[in-house]
């Protein structure tokens, strides 16, 4: 943790609702190194997307903040480009134009028209979609759309690529293909990636580090797991790998056995806080010890 490339620092968020503010996240705290592939895993509704949206600048954290290369960021920008689960391609633009939309804005004044064109084509080739440049989004399959979404993101040369369950809506085979493509590209470009997932295999297969989130409300980081497996990773070989299965078991155990632990801690903290207001600061160490154990 020498150079903290991206720091999520004590982030908390409250959403205004009809029954008063709803605390979705509280004290979410972790950091990411440059070139690292980090997954955030947790049960549905725990606040994974909210974390990603805060990093992207699409949501404003109520407490804490996000620091990228030493500077706080709190507005969206192409340096933290997002791949959306719903692919979010403009249905009225061709595959090429969807990618070009970002390129034309980001490289305005830096690249000539011809350079932009070849840059768009290069990125589409990277995700193996250069054959369908002139197609409309409704003419290509779901997996292909997601490839284009990834190309659009990569083409902006983001410092961090944020992916919100990008493979969630795809069938198993397409998903496996796309996972391999993303790993390949990430290795080649050394992009920093934050991937949101609820798929344990996906998290272990793809990540250098897994951030496990406790259940909401007031979700926080439960455990951190460093995945130390050599790359390139090959899913068939890994399925028999002991180390891989150990990591897998660790994540499964967090999700299905210990999922309450952090909540119990925080619940205890709450009651402690009410009883002994003076000691509330020292009680915060609880989850850090868990995180330390994991890493």
């Amino acid at each position: 943790m020498a150079n903290k490339f991206l720091e999520i620092s004590k982030v908390g968020i409250e959403f205004p609702t009809a029954n008063g503010p709803f605390t979705a996240l509280k004290d979410v705290d972790f950091s990411i190194n440059e070139g690292e592939f980090v997954s955030i895993i947790g049960h549905s509704g725990c606040g994974k997307s909210t974390v990603l949206n805060i990093i992207a600048g699409l949501y404003q954290a109520t407490y804490g903040g996000v620091i990228l290369e030493g500077k706080e960021v709190n507005a969206p920008g192409p340096d933290r480009a997002v791949v959306f689960q719903s692919h979010a391609l403009m249905p009225w633009l061709t595959v090429y134009d969807n990618v070009a939309l970002g390129v034309e804005k980001v490289f305005k004044g830096q690249k000539t028209k011809a350079e932009m064109k070849s840059w768009v084509e290069h990125n589409l080739a990277l995700v193996k979609m250069d054959h369908a440049m002139r197609k409309m989004p409704h003419e290509i399959s779901g997996g292909m759309k997601q490839r284009v979404g990834i190309a659009r993101c990569l083409a902006m040369q983001p410092k961090v690529m944020l992916m919100d369950e990008p493979f969630g809506a795809l069938d198993a085979l397409t998903r496996a293909n796309l996972q391999d493509s993303v790993m390949e590209i990430q290795k080649e470009l050394n992009t920093t990636v934050v991937l949101i997932t609820h798929d344990v295999d996906e998290a272990v297969l793809m990540s250098d580090k897994i951030v496990m989130m406790s259940n909401g409300p007031a979700a926080k980081v439960g455990e951190l797991l460093e995945v130390d497996l050599p790359r390139p990773r090959e899913r068939v070989a890994l399925s028999k790998n002991e180390q891989f299965n150990y990591y897998r078991q660790q994540v499964l155990s967090f999700l299905y056995e210990k999922k309450g632990v952090v909540d119990f801690n925080s619940a205890k903290q709450q009651s402690d806080k009410q009883l002994k207001a003076k000691q509330q600061d020292s009680n915060n160490d609880g989850d850090e010890t868990i995180a330390d154990k994991a890493s």
Binding site: A56, G57, L58, P76, G77, P78, R80, A81, V82, F84, S86, A88, M90, P91, W92, L93, L101, G102, K105, V106, M136, H138, R152, M156
Partner: protein, 334 residues
């Protein structure tokens, strides 16, 4: 190439081909698209005929399809006759002026407009011009305003009470006010537009405003959130954002608004013309009613059918425009 033995064989093979083609077309004929509408019209005409023959009014029997058809022919003939008169008038005028100039090259010549009776076809043309002019004014205001309302919650909340209050007001209630304002403000020696034309057009515009404004605002406000987020991540400029994201995304809703607007505008125009005696189809209907000849009801009925057909055609034209503009060529447009 084999030469057929006799002519009858050639004939029969030709008949064969024709028959086959005929049965092919019959089979490919979609019942729903052609036969049913046709049947519907035939049945309607039958009941109309039966009902008309039983209704006696003070202006004679209610016209059936046959009388109405006959009057439509008469109306066209009247128009052609009027055109001939106009031509003759201009010819005479030209000759007179030419003679004057021949006598004295510095003579002031007058070119007068032919002021004959406005025929049915003239009135159709006037009404069309008026409705389109009013519709374009309204759209030019309503679409940009709707986009701003859809983009900004504050503007929408500010505008909403005004929209809700003015929307249900029949534009006919505005008509006297518009008439007075136009005659007060539009003073010109050589007016490009007639005042009556502007009165009707502004009345139309006033009722064309709301459906387009509301639908555009709703369309813009409901653009897919993910697409908006993409735009924010890319940091598109406001103008590019509207042009590349907001407008294409809300095209279907904008056009829904435009179609509603034009339909109501057309209905209101006829009423406004009847009420204010401004030239147009409404005036034609009113004049015929006041006229009260034995043919009047038939002539009014012709106008009714024509008003309907034009309303239908206007709607189709907007649909075609939508097909042309919209990215979604698959969308089922009704």
């Amino acid at each position: 190439m084999t030469v057929p033995a006799n002519t009858s064989e050639v004939a029969s093979s030709n008949v064969d081909i024709i028959m086959r083609k005929f049965s092919d077309t019959l089979r490919s004929f979609d019942l729903k698209t052609a036969v049913y509408p046709f049947l519907g019209i035939v049945i309607f005409l039958f009941f109309w005929n039966v009902a008309a023959s039983r209704i006696d009014t003070s202006l004679g029997q209610f016209p059936g399809p046959a009388q109405v058809y006959q009057q439509s022919v008469t109306l066209i003939e009247e128009h052609l006759a009027e055109q001939l008169k106009a031509e003759a008038f201009y010819e005479r005028q030209e000759k007179r002026n030419a003679k004057k100039l021949a006598k004295n090259p510095d003579a002031k010549i007058k070119v007068r407009k032919y002021t004959g009776k406005e025929t049915f076809l003239d009135q159709i043309f006037t009404s069309l011009k008026t409705v389109l002019f009013g519709f374009f004014i309204a759209s030019a205001i309503a679409i940009p305003l709707g986009i701003i309302c859809g983009l900004s919650d504050a503007v929408y909340k500010g505008m909403n009470p005004l929209i809700q209050i003015f929307k249900p007001v029949s534009p006919l209630a505005w008509l006297p006010l518009i008439t007075m304002v136009v005659s007060a403000l539009y003073v010109s020696e050589d007016p490009y537009f007639e005042k009556s034309f502007l009165n009707s057009a502004f009345t139309v515009a006033l009722c064309c405003l709301w459906p387009t404004l509301i639908n555009t605002a709703v369309g813009v406000a409901n653009v897919d959130k993910d697409l908006l987020n993409v735009s924010r991540v890319i940091q598109l400029s406001a103008l590019t954002h509207v042009r590349k994201i907001i407008l294409p995304a809300s095209v279907p809703m904008i056009f829904t608004g435009l179609r509603l607007s034009l339909a109501t505008g057309w209905m209101v125009l006829i009423a406004a013309e009847m009420l204010s005696q401004n030239p147009g189809l409404g005036k034609f209907v009113w004049d015929e009613f006041q006229n009260g000849s034995s043919n009047s009801l038939s002539r009014i009925m012709v106008a009714v059918v024509v008003i309907g057909l034009i309303g239908f055609a206007l709607d189709r034209i907007i649909l075609m425009a939508q097909r042309f503009v919209s990215w979604d060529k698959q969308a089922v447009l009704r």
